[in-house]
């Protein structure tokens, strides 16, 4: 391998690694706040990418109907809960978000010629359609189990993943798609060609991480999430509802997932089930960070991207094997530091 190829592979690795890093951060966030190991993260990547594909080809994306149905289910569940407790205060806003919003969005999207819109608008539509599914999934699948063990939550998480992959096949079909690059520019930089898409991915990832950081540091909701992550019971005693923290963290996870999907769609062909493997690489990063440390998770994810890129050069058939085997030394290193037996939560 000469330097040129090494640099090219490095560029590839960093681009993918940046996306894995975003996903790793989302996984750490979800785990810290809700103890859910968020396996369906990958489906948001695929849904985001494929919804954008549908919008760009002028079709009404199938995810809109999923949003309408999921919203209706949430509304139903909330109404039943409200009727049982005879507490009707939050119901109007619940109905607005879960019934009115999806229906209004569906009506709007069927009326507007999607194909002709500018790309930023198409991206915005994609976000508006897919991201609200995050909190809805939390409400339907996880909120009733908020006090269950990590193990039960993990099994539910995998079940939700399987359901979403099945629905993905139903909505998008088995064919893979790509979206056009955000821009076609190329630059010469230190003797190698850098595509504009690479810069977009890296730039957007850094911007998104920065926004998240500001949110956690500066806003009340961000602080509430941090408090919940540190001590769930304590946060609840201080008046932070667990359900709100859960929905909020799933909203952020969905946002990060969809954004990653939109960023990666011009680089890789996305199928309805591709998201899982992409998110799993974020997982490997998150595990390197012990599902606890944001910076270590991000660096770990970058490492995964680089490892994947270089191993695809040397042994392309075995690149997945190599990437997933990486967690073995990581787990080994972690287990050296595990001294005391802990009760499972």
């Amino acid at each position: 391998m000469d330097l040129q190829i090494a640099l090219l592979l490095g560029q590839d690795g960093i681009t993918n690694g940046a996306i894995y890093a975003l996903l790793a951060l989302a996984l750490v966030l979800a785990f810290a706040v809700t103890r859910v190991i968020f396996v369906p993260q990958g489906e948001f990547v695929a849904y985001g990418a494929l919804t954008l594909v549908a919008v760009q080809s002028g079709q009404l994306p199938g995810t809109v109907w999923l949003l309408v149905i999921a919203g209706a289910l949430v509304a139903l569940v909330e109404l039943v809960a409200a009727a049982r407790a005879s507490r009707w205060r939050g119901v109007p806003s619940t109905l607005a978000w879960n019934l009115a919003y999806p229906l209004a969005l569906a009506a709007l999207l069927s009326a507007v010629p999607l194909q002709g819109l500018a790309m930023p608008l198409q991206i915005l539509i994609t976000l508006a359609v897919v991201v609200p599914l995050g909190p809805m999934i939390y409400r339907l699948a996880f909120q009733p189990l908020a006090e269950a063990s990590v193990l039960v939550l993990l099994i539910v998480s995998v079940a939700v993943h399987v359901v979403l992959v099945g629905i993905g096949l139903l909505l998008f079909g088995p064919e893979g798609s790509r979206t056009p690059a955000f821009s076609d520019g190329r630059f010469e930089f230190a003797g190698m060609t850098v595509t504009a898409q690479t810069l977009w991915v890296i730039g957007c990832s850094i911007a998104l991480i920065w926004v998240l950081y500001l949110m956690f540091e500066r806003t009340l909701y961000g602080k509430a999430l941090r408090a919940t992550a540190v001590n769930r019971t304590g946060a609840r005693l201080m008046g932070i509802p667990t359900a709100l923290a859960g929905k909020l963290s799933f909203l952020l996870c969905a946002l990060i997932g969809v954004a990653s999907g939109i960023l990666i769609a011009p680089i890789t062909t996305i199928y309805y089930d591709t998201g899982f493997l992409i998110a799993l690489k974020g997982f490997v990063g998150a595990i390197i960070g012990g599902l606890a440390s944001y910076p270590v998770a991000a660096i770990g994810a970058l490492l995964v991207g680089l490892l994947e890129s270089y191993s695809s050069f040397y042994a392309s058939a075995f690149k997945e094997v190599i990437v997933f085997t990486l967690i073995i030394p990581v787990l080994w290193w972690r287990s050296l530091h595990a001294h005391h037996v802990e009760e499972e939560e």
């Binding site: 190991i37 339907l140 699948a141 009733p144 189990l145 269950a148 063990s149 990590v150 193990l151 039960v152 993990l154 099994i155 539910v156 995998v158 079940a159 939700v160 993943h161 399987v162 359901v163 992959v165 099945g166 629905i167 096949l169 139903l170 079909g173 088995p174 493997l277 799993l280 997982f283 490997v284 595990i287 058939a317 075995f318 997945e320 094997v321 997933f324 085997t325 967690i327 073995i328 787990l331 080994w332 972690r334 287990s335 595990a338 001294h339 005391h340 037996v341 802990e342 009760e343 499972e344």
Partner: protein, 600 residues
């Protein structure tokens, strides 16, 4: 109907089934048997051990591929060729390989929190799937054809009707051995894994090894299922061993009911049958081909976990009321060997300058105390004084920041609570830690886990095949003796969780005594006891003292403490503020100040 009659009827029905049922149904039953064998391992892991694995399909694949390669290859190296000569040797090779890999994966992840194993198995499942698909030796994604049938005493099991008997023989012996195992010494340790690890370690159970044992067992059951599968299909390719197949096995276990071994069979049946049906129905409904049944399965799984954590089995079990034979304890068996007690007056426990800091908080500060054989020592102080922290430092649940604990002349630095328990120290907990669903006698028997323990491997094998009944009878007799001693004889076979709190505390005392300790740490044993019960407990403590045991007692009931102890230490804010006889301590102005506020 008794369980035995039911089992016999079931076996008779199975024996007749292939003679009368159509080929399609026999094939379905074959697959149900294969899937149940894998799901059985998951019941053991998930329902009993509180762990789970998404990678069981990869172990199935390991069994299938090992036998397929060995029995079809023409150019094996000579040192390996003899294994390919018989399908049974190939089974052993597959089991051996599975043992090595499962032990490696388990060894890496099982010391960590419980969610690292399932995460590790996801990565393992994916890696192995790609390895199956990409290795030339394994035939790539097209797979290996021409796998020979299994031969039993020279008779080849060529048809589905013939291999049917072998599959169900494997499954039934799997179910029976797992049931046996759970009802043995190691089985109790395994049943303590879910929600009782801390307690089990303090009773001398190596919970990491117990976790490893069930993971390896589950993997080997999956491997055996793969071996049968390869010789039923007579060909293998990577598809049935993917991660999604692994997830489907977990569906079966969860839907059937992870709490009970028969749940595996029920779950595999329900999922296999409904899969057949949904695969016909759904594509017609949605108008395109695809595995849409997974949507239904996933939704059902979420609903089961939200609404009925025990799966379908309890609902089915209600229709088949099985009588369980009453359990009996044979008091005539020879008692378990006891450890030599230290001489009366020998210093058993010495704590020197113990300090524990949690961040900025000093929970215990420069505490020193001793306890001698044949002595009851009290440790009192207001709430938050650091008494329970001191207990945790002595018994090894917490690490000292500074200082030293010496037990029978041996510094305990760096030892885990399990190793310390093995030296002859036992304890009760301030917040009772017991396994509420298990009977009182099983809970107490965990205390005796380390006595005459033949080790994990022997214990698991002997337990699975009921070769340790004599040993088990001695263990249970010992547990029963301790239960009678603390006055709980009437509750011996009740679930521990049904006892009132005070009696649960007495159960903990019995459990601690079952380990035959020479130092007993009791954390508020009298809380929640009634007057007569307290008197009986005080009487018991005096008797133990007379036998030469050293007892360290944390208690808030002053009347009880002052009546029973020889010496007292008083703590406040992590410091020792007074020590001496009850009379001396009661007059100490510092003690009065700590308890009652300033005395002018």
């Amino acid at each position: 109907m008794s369980a035995r009659t039911f089992l016999l009827l079931f076996v008779a029905a199975l024996a007749l089934a292939p003679l009368f049922l159509p080929a399609f149904t026999v094939t379905l039953l074959n697959y149900i048997g294969l899937y149940s064998l894998v799901a059985l391992g998951l019941v053991l892991l998930t329902g009993v051990g509180g762990l789970t694995s998404f990678g069981q399909a990869a172990f199935v694949g390991m069994g299938a591929y090992t036998t397929a390669v060995l029995t079809t290859a023409t150019a094996l190296p000579p040192w390996l060729a003899w294994v390919g000569a018989s399908t049974w040797l190939a089974l052993l090779a597959g089991l051996g390989l599975t043992l090595i890999f499962a032990a490696a994966i388990g060894g890496l992840t099982l010391r960590l929190s419980g969610h690292y194993l399932p995460l590790g198995t996801i990565a393992w499942g994916i890696s192995l799937y790609f390895l199956f698909g990409n290795l030339q030796l394994l035939g790539g994604f097209t797979g290996i054809t021409g796998v020979p049938p299994i031969e039993v005493f020279g008779y080849a099991l060529e048809s589905g009707r013939e291999i049917f008997y072998l599959i169900w023989l494997f499954l039934l012996s799997g179910i029976i051995t797992v049931n046996n195992l759970l009802d043995s010494r190691q089985g109790r340790a395994i049943r303590a894994l879910k929600g009782g690890r801390l307690m089990a370690e303090a009773m001398g159970v190596n919970t990491t090894d117990a976790r490893l044992a069930i993971f390896v067992l589950a993997a080997m059951q999956a491997c055996a299922s793969g071996w049968l599968y390869a010789h039923l299909q007579r060909f293998v390719n990577p598809t049935p061993f993917s991660l999604h197949a692994g997830i489907e096995y977990l569906f079966m276990a969860v839907v059937g009911g992870v709490g009970q071994v028969w749940g595996a069979l029920l779950g595999a049946t329900v999922i296999s049958v409904s899969k057949q049906w949904l695969q016909d129905l759904l594509p017609k409904l949605v108008g395109s081909a695809g595995n849409f049944e997974v949507i239904v399965f996933g939704v059902v799984m979420v609903i089961v976990l939200q609404r009925a954590r025990d799966g379908l089995w309890p609902a089915v079990a209600r229709w088949v009321p099985l009588r369980r034979p009453p359990r009996t304890i044979d008091p005539g068996v020879p008692p378990l060997a006891r450890r030599p007690m230290p001489a009366p007056g020998e210093i058993v426990l010495e704590v020197k300058g113990a300090t524990k800091r949690f961040g900025g908080l000093v929970a215990v500060n420069q505490l020193s105390l001793t306890a001698a054989a044949g002595e009851i020592v009290g440790l009192i102080g207001p709430n938050g004084a650091g008494k329970s922290t001191t207990f945790n430092l002595i018994s090894g649940e917490l690490d000292l920041t500074e200082g030293e604990v010496v037990f029978r002349g041996r510094p305990l630095h760096g030892l885990s609570s399990r190793e310390i328990a093995a030296l002859g120290m036992s304890r009760t907990f301030q917040h009772v830690r017991l396994l509420p669903a298990m009977s009182v006698i099983d809970n107490v028997a965990i205390g005796a886990h380390g006595r005459g323990n033949p080790g994990l491997l022997v214990g698991v094998l002997a337990g699975a095949w009921r070769l340790e009944r004599r040993d088990e009878a001695r263990l249970l007799a010992e547990a029963a003796r301790q239960i009678e001693r603390v006055g709980l004889a009437d509750y011996m076979f009740e679930p521990a969780g049904s006892l009132p709190l005070g009696k649960q505390r007495l159960l903990e005392v019995a459990r601690a005594l079952a380990s035959d300790p020479c130092l007993l740490l009791l954390d508020e044993p009298a809380a929640g006891l009634r007057y007569l019960e307290k008197r009986a407990l005080a009487e018991l403590l005096r008797r133990l003292k007379a036998e030469g045991m050293a007892i360290l007692l944390v208690e808030h009931d002053m009347e009880f403490v002052m009546g029973v102890v020889d010496r007292l230490y008083v703590m406040d804010f992590g410091q020792k503020i007074s020590e001496g006889s009850p009379q001396h301590v009661q007059r100490d102005p510092r003690v009065l100040e700590a308890y009652l506020g300033g005395v002018e």
